[in-house]
Assembly symmetry: C2
Homo-oligomer: 264 residues x 2
């Protein structure tokens, strides 16, 4: 049941009880007086004033009830509705330009959402991946601890950093094509590219990029990358070792041949 209907039902019930008791009270008082002034001219006026007071009482009670309803709806239902709309529209923040219990509730809701975000951001900060969130203009909205650690940029640097600043020159065109795809709503897996850290080191990364979409509107891209620089180096090392090994094998069979020749 709606609160407004509940309040009005409650008020009308009291109104009914008060009116009925008032009506019987006046009937009783009127009866007494009527008996006393039965022969007097005042009888008619007396009855007139009684009905006048009843009408006045009814009208004023009615005004009270209607005004109560208006006050309640203005001071309660409106901010309630405003909070509900802001919450259901998944706004980043619920804002009320008031200073009452509803503003207090809005504030608590904001804190609650921030708390959940903080909880998860802590998890993301503990992750071993480089996580970055970039808006449609290529500005960084969020990067995690590992990202800052590997890329060498501070929170302050990131404010003025663009996605283009961290891409290796030969990767820019390719990456911007991918970026546009994600902005259009695509989720990309197995993206391979090369970042350049603050101190110009090449960081080989592979990972995936997803769009963050709220109320059907693109908000940002979320990229989760693994630093594969070390892996690439190890792969190179194994390749080198294998080549060396082959060289040694060739050399050895040559030596063995030579021994064979010499032994003849």
């Amino acid at each position: 049941m709606k609160i407004i209907s509940k309040i009005f039902l409650g008020l009308f019930t009291i109104f009914l009880i008060v009116s009925l008791s008032g009506y019987f009270l006046f009937i009783y008082a009127n009866g007494n007086i009527t008996a006393k002034v039965i022969s007097s001219e005042a009888n008619l006026s007396n009855l007139k004033i009684n009905s006048l007071s009843i009408v006045f009482f009814l009208v004023s009670s009615f005004i009270l009830i209607i005004t109560t309803g208006l006050i309640v709806s203005l001071s309660i239902m409106k901010p309630l509705e405003k909070i509900k709309t802001a919450v259901s529209e998944r706004n980043e923040e619920v804002y009320l330009s008031q200073n009452n219990e509803f503003a207090g509730l809005a504030n608590e809701i904001n804190k609650r959402i921030k708390y959940t975000e903080k909880e998860y951001k802590e998890i993301l900060d503990n992750a071993n991946d480089l996580i970055q969130s970039v808006d449609k203009d290529c500005n960084f909205i969020y990067v995690n601890k590992k990202w800052k650690e590997i890329m060498g940029y501070s929170e302050e640097d990131i404010k003025s950093l663009s996605l283009l600043n961290i891409l290796k020159s030969d990767q820019k065109t390719h990456c911007m094509d991918l970026f546009k795809k994600v902005c259009a709503g695509e989720h990309l897996e197995n993206v391979n590219t090369i970042f350049i850290s603050k101190n110009k080191k090449e960081i080989f990364v592979e990972g995936n990029i997803s769009p963050k979409i709220t109320n059907g509107k693109f908000i940002s891209t979320i990229g989760i990358f693994r630093d594969v620089t070390e892996k690439k180096q190890v792969e190179k090392e194994i390749e080198k070792l294998n080549k060396l090994m082959i060289g040694r094998e060739v050399k050895m069979s040559e030596l063995k041949k030579e021994i064979k020749e010499l032994k003849k």
Copy 2:
């Protein structure tokens, strides 16, 4: 200003306006009647009924106002306070056993929190780490997609799985000691252990474990691990290659020595 005070102030203002206008109306009506029945016995009774009606009007209006206050506080301030408390205590869910606008708001707040959680869980699912959340009884509360992929367990399996089930036998004592530390509030870095996947494969992991604490109470551990099985294998391979290489070197110098001898 508090809503309740605002409502009461509004109601008392109307009450004052209505009372004053009622008083002057009765004075006016009474004056007319008094003129007509000036010599009659009814005059006194007439005045009596007027004051009776004024008192009755005042009392009934007062009852209306007090009852309005009670209805408003019961049907509005109580659920509002309940929602606020649940939100500020960071409960998982805001629950109201009602079916009105407040229940609607509570529902929207729940959906909003779930939405933020879903957003972040999507990021966690895209991560390349194995992420697991375990409660104080070693039951799994959450694992991400990568965890399920590498460990081979389904969402259904996980419901009845304990942390002990996924640890290699020789790791259990050590890991349980670490687990107790995290339950006591410690954050652990560089944890190295071996998981056993559903199909009995050894998964070498390294990572960190943090406690999730809400309102000063331990809720769960959050472990973020990197699968280093491949890395360990590669390391072994390099070691093997290096050993082979040394063997080859020794063999070669022997062969060279032999050649030297033969050439003499």
